[in-house]
């Protein structure tokens, strides 16, 4: 490009201002990316939800337990392929800050319902045979440096102030992008033997896999009708709807993120727009000379926009690079408080597009001003 030297020479005309503007972009991009990954983390349950899975909970609420006998009745409904059930365990490992989700699982159909969670057969078989066995996700095991064969103590206040101990029989992983490798599973049979009688023979919620996702509405309706007017009426919904509802329990995260993101957007737009306007105003005479010697109005607009876009590109890339380095550290620091924060390629692309959009928008008005500037008036002004 012929005007490259002019564009870059103008960029470095005020180095301190350039550093501040690029810095504003970089910090805004770090914030934008961080907000994006937090939003994505809360929505990940929705994103990775199986289209052919339904969740059945007690109509009163998630913490209300249902009879384990519901499993057979649900399985009998046409269109249901597999049924399994989970319980929330809510134990504490060493200290409350070491939070991680623990599920009491029914080993019978769990692997069929959740094929994305991969456990080596030998480890799974050991787990099934070991009533005090447990399986941990790969990320969770790495977090606490667990290895197969370790003895893991958990305390729980939900089922009496009891100390529970488990043998780590296996470690699962998932190949699904954004898949959850932070869960801890223990066996329902051992749980059922140990808990107080009021909790025995219950399930927290049912998860069922359908023959076809097309059956979802019909099967959900059939299940809820089957248990209507019983002591434990049900509410059946798709896994993605369930995950979305679960995320909403934390408050309107999306609204909060969009609001902060909006503030970031407009602040950055004003800062860079002002910078570009000052930069163009300082060069009125030079731009007039360029027009006098034959640069067209469009070329002048292009020069201003190019400067703005280069600033936004450099700031954007720098911000994304900082975010790429910082987010894993933030994620590790917030383990237990937030779902894992993952910076995806989509988010990186969105971040760069966001930066370029701001760059184009902030350069547009000063650029149009420079484009419309009359040479004679501009030369007279200086």
């Amino acid at each position: 490009m012929k005007f490259r030297s002019l564009i870059f020479a103008n960029l470095f005309r005020k180095k301190f201002r350039l550093i501040l503007t690029v810095g504003s972009f970089a910090i805004a991009l770090v914030l934008f990316t961080f907000l994006g990954v937090v939003k994505s983390a809360f929505n990940r349950g929705v994103e990775v939800a199986g289209a052919d899975r339904l969740i059945v909970v007690d109509r009163v609420g998630l913490m209300q337990l249902m009879p384990v006998s519901y499993g057979d009745k649900i399985r009998a409904i046409p269109g249901v392929k597999y049924v399994t059930h989970d319980h929330w365990f809510g134990g504490v490992y060493q200290d409350e800050k070491n939070f991680f989700p623990q599920f009491v699982i029914d080993v019978e159909n769990h692997r069929q319902v959740y094929p994305e969670f991969i456990v080596p057969d030998e480890q799974w078989n050991n787990f099934v045979k070991d009533r005090q066995g447990c399986i941990a996700g790969r990320r969770l095991a790495e977090r606490f440096h667990w290895k197969v064969g370790d003895r893991i103590p958990l305390k729980t206040t939900i089922y009496g102030a009891a100390n529970w101990e488990f043998n780590l029989d296996g470690i699962y992983h998932t190949d699904k992008e954004g898949g959850d490798e932070g869960q801890f599973w223990l066996q329902w049979k051992y749980f059922d033997e140990t808990v107080p009688s009021v909790i025995k023979s219950t399930a927290g919620w049912y998860i069922l896999k359908l023959d076809s996702p097309d059956d979802a509405v019909r099967v959900a309706k059939a299940i809820d009708e089957k248990f209507a007017n019983s002591s434990d009426e049900t509410k059946t919904e798709t896994e993605s709807a369930f995950a979305a509802g679960f995320a909403k329990q934390f408050g309107n995260i999306e609204f909060l993120i969009m609001t902060i993101g909006g503030v970031v957007f407009f602040t950055l737009l004003l800062v860079t727009g002002n910078t570009m306007a000052i930069s163009v105003r300082e060069r009125t005479n030079e731009l007039a000379v360029l027009k006098a010697i034959g640069l067209t109005d469009r070329t002048v607009l292009f020069l201003v926009l190019a400067e703005s876009l280069v600033i936004s590109f450099i700031g954007g890339v720098l911000g994304l690079f900082l975010a790429w380095g910082a987010i894993p550290a933030v994620s590790a620091a917030l383990t237990g408080l937030l779902p894992p924060l993952l910076l995806s390629k989509t988010m990186l692309t969105l971040g760069l597009l966001f930066a370029l959009f701001i760059g184009a928008a902030s350069g547009l008005l000063p650029g149009i001003g420079a484009m419309r500037m009359r040479v004679v008036n501009a030369m007279r002004r200086v």
Binding site: A9, V289, A292, I293
Partner: protein, 247 residues
Amino acid sequence: MIRVDGPSISNSLIQVRGLNKTYTRGGEQIQVLQGLNLDVDKGDFVAFMGPSGSGKTTLLNLLGGLDVPSAGSVTVDGDEITHMSGSKLTHWRARHVGFIFQMYNLIPVLTAYQNVELPLLLTKLSSSERRKHVETALGVVSLSDRMHHYPRQLSGGQEQRVTIARAIVSDPTFLLCDEPTGDLDRKSAGEIMGLIEELVSKYGKTVLMVTHDPLIAARAHTTLHLDKGVLVEAHKLEQGALAGGVA
């Protein structure tokens, strides 16, 4: 040959006919140029003089296609520029006009070489061809050894030489000089005028120059005075003054 009587048929390089320029300031109409006629042939060197506000720079802007007249026409080398669209006029300027300003108006963040190269970026010349043209232009103004210096590293006279190199690098049809020595000391002014004279005598350039300085104007082939919006040749103005006419 320079004429200000406006013959109806002319083969001059620059023909100005009935040129009017009126400004509106504070609701008041100010007529700067009134039915001005001018013919300038190729290779002529004309100096325009006149008191401040007489319209010298306005005339230069109209001749250079930087401004549009209220009435009348300007024809250069057969092209009537007064009715050209904005973009066409821009392309015309790039091809036909070389500007030399009083304040040099170089881009401070570009070297002398890059400043001189600017008009060539609008052409289809390759990088090596541009280099050849720039080096030649800087050679003409005797600044080959300063081509990688920035304007702040040059004296005023050297900066004006770079401006001249930028004006001639694309070999324009004519040069417009607005007080080219106005910001220079006497010695540097003399050198710049020597250079402009050389462009006329050696390279056959047509030069139209505005100046306040009678000594500078005296180096042109013809000096024209702008008086009440019309051009008067210097010797006629002197005759009028002797007869107690025009002041």
